[in-house]
Symmetry: C2
């Protein structure tokens, strides 16, 4: 069964590049990737924070945050 991975971003250039290069490059046999734009879906910022996300772009896999480079602080999206 594939594992859930959530990619949080905010539409920034660093985010878009990370989405294209990493989030969309995960093995589809292993992961079911959901892409969440926190700028458009602010209702999910709290969920990202609870998973430990401090900035975007970030991937959350098995509840663990993986920050990829740096686009924007999560606090700047509120």
């Amino acid at each position: 069964m594939s594992e859930k991975a959530i990619f949080y971003h905010a539409g920034c250039p660093v985010c878009v590049d990370a989405e294209r290069r990493l989030a969309e490059s995960l093995d589809p046999q292993k992961f079911d990737v959901e892409i969440v734009h926190l700028g458009q879906d602010k209702g999910r910022i709290a969920e990202a924070e609870r998973a430990g996300v401090k900035s975007v772009p970030a991937l959350v896999i098995a509840g663990q945050p993986y920050h990829i480079n740096f686009g924007a602080e999560l606090s700047a999206l509120k």
Copy 2:
């Protein structure tokens, strides 16, 4: 043809986790992933620097660095 991706690390806990979760989770149809331990293979630190790597763990895909969380500064490995 699969694209080359290089994962640079230094054996730190953050590195090992990122390797297991991300470097080994890239789509094998898209990427040929090489794992480089810069603590053991210091001769490749300069190559990582040229690609823009500032800290480990990091992935380099198509010449672009993707820093994943933070384990250690590259300068600390010299």
